[in-house]
């Protein structure tokens, strides 16, 4: 795990709140994300992860509290925020019948920028798909393309909402490597996930959410330590390999798409 993460916060969230009707979806959430780290948000469905992310992305109105991203107030400067972040949404799509290269050129134009779409596609290993339509892509390819689209403006912060959900183990591992490469470029990454293995492997720090609150926030190692310090013991002795190791050993790491 890369430990060059800057200690200076690039995002600070203070008392953030979202209410739908009489249901409080995000209640007074406060935390900081350090520049250059991979920050994970975990939690069961309905915990408020996506809502929290979308408020930070200037996609959803903030009902209470404040998000400061790179010194800018998200609620007051939504367009400036959008200009410097990259977003991969959970429920979105790209235009059909528009090639990947054309799509990237179009998205770059939204930021007033020009990209070399083929080079960007090369970075996510989709060079040979530059002239294909997104509807022809496999699940893993779609996610990689969606990350490429989130990078067109060379963002300072990249938001990934469940980037590996629905992918097979090979594609998931492949995406992990891609996310680590992006972090090495100095881009801060915030991601949500349901996979503990993924969070442990990728994230420098984790926030665990439940019922709209953050109930724990630390590095994966520290979180485990705290649990053990409480006297927790797993009933079974942990094997040196698990079923996923067996699966990868049998089917290999090569991508199937």
């Amino acid at each position: 795990m890369l430990k060059s993460a800057n200690m200076k916060p690039i995002i600070s969230v203070r008392g953030l709140r979202k209410v739908y009707g009489d249901k409080v979806v995000v209640r007074d959430v406060s935390f900081e994300v350090r520049a250059g780290e991979i920050f994970g948000i975990l939690g069961p469905n309905g915990a408020g992860k996506t809502t929290l992310m979308e408020m930070m992305e200037a996609m959803r109105p903030i009902d209470g509290g404040q998000v400061i991203l790179a010194g800018l107030d998200v609620a007051k400067k939504p367009r400036k925020i959008k200009q410097i972040i990259g977003v991969q949404l959970q429920s979105s799509e790209f235009y059909n019948k528009v090639t990947l290269a054309e799509s990237l050129t179009m998205f770059a134009s939204f930021y007033g920028q020009k990209v070399n779409p083929r080079q960007l596609l090369g970075e996510v290993e989709l060079s040979e798909k530059a002239d294909s339509y997104p509807e022809k892509l496999s699940g893993g390819q779609k996610q990689r393309f969606s990350i490429a689209a989130a990078l067109v403006n060379n963002p300072r912060v990249l938001f990934l909402d469940e980037p590996t959900t629905g992918l097979d183990p090979q594609a998931r591992r492949h995406l992990w490597e891609l996310i680590e490469k992006i972090r090495q470029r100095g881009i801060t990454v915030i991601l949500t996930s349901h996979y503990m293995e993924e969070a442990e492997r990728l994230c420098d720090r984790l926030a665990i959410m439940d019922n709209g609150r953050i109930i724990a926030l630390d590095s994966p190692a520290n979180l485990i330590k705290k649990l053990l310090a409480k006297g927790f013991h797993k009933k079974q002795v942990r094997e040196q390999a698990d079923l996923e190791d067996v699966y990868i050993d049998l089917t290999g790491k090569a991508l199937r798409e």
Partner: protein, 376 residues
Amino acid sequence: MKAIFVYSLTMLKRFLRDPIYLFFVFAFPLIFLFIFGTIFGNSSDVNFNLALINHADNDFTTSFIEKFSGGDNQTFEIDREITDLEVAKEKMSRGEIDSIIELPESFGEVSESCQTKAATPADCLPSGEMKVFYDEGSPQAGQTISIIMSGILDEMNVAVTGTTPRFKVDQVSTGAAGLSQFDYTFAGLFSYVLMTMGIYTLSQQLPSEKKTGTLRRIKATPFRPWQLLVGLSLVYLFLTIISAALMIAIGVLMFDFQMRGSWLTLSIFSIISTLTMIGFGAIVAGAAKNENQATMASQLIAFPMMFLSGVFFPRFLMPDWLQNATSWIPLTPVGDGVRYITTEGAGLIDILPQLGLVAVWGVVAYVVAFKVFRWE
């Protein structure tokens, strides 16, 4: 600005890659054109269908019939197969013929009073009385035929008696000479197509993108709603121009459409009108959350406009208050403007009131569209 054009161009490429979509977009106006063209296309040749029931048998009658049925007469056509009055009346009641002319046995004969000693020279000239039957439901057919027959008979009276009538009626048609009914219909149809292309197409596209999430993804970028709507308007303007050009080409080539005005004037006026109509589509597209809402809302806007604007049904048939009210709806100036250009050769200055009203509606439509727009 550049983002708008890149977006427009990308969307245009996307449409051009969907030939089935394009087929439906372009086929729709053309289907209308063929229907209207076929109904009204030949109407300048024959206005009325007649049955001629002739009981007379003399030279005078034969020459009379030749006179009004021969030559280049295009006002009516005689159905020669009908020889029985009862059959003719039945056909007329079904609307297959418009009028019946009956010539009695005595038509064109010299009256019996010529044989008497008291006979004057006038009594020994041929005389007669024809009957024109018409259906209660279409009195103008009967009246028109009666007037034409009177005209022909007047000429024959002059020929037979050798006197010149002192008073005459000179008929002068004031309509633009040479225009067929199709030319008027075409103007309405053309305006109608500008409206449907503007309102229906865009209002369907955006709500479906709200469902798939493509719009959500764009929402995450700094691209603004007005840029998106302007970009899409340009795409649909382009498609409408192609559609309109196709319509005109087929109208001219197949249905002998006569254009009185300048093509440039029509182009400028059509582009402004189309943008206004797209603006109304943009209101629906932006506000609707899904396609069902969009379909109902666009019907609600388009249907009253179609019936009240005079593009299909003349507004002078409406009561005064309705005429006043409907003169302000957006499609009315579009329809009037197009008609003045194509049938009267009006220039941009002549249609300034229409142009102004269309432009004002356009501004209103876009302002509302930007306001009510929602991404999801």
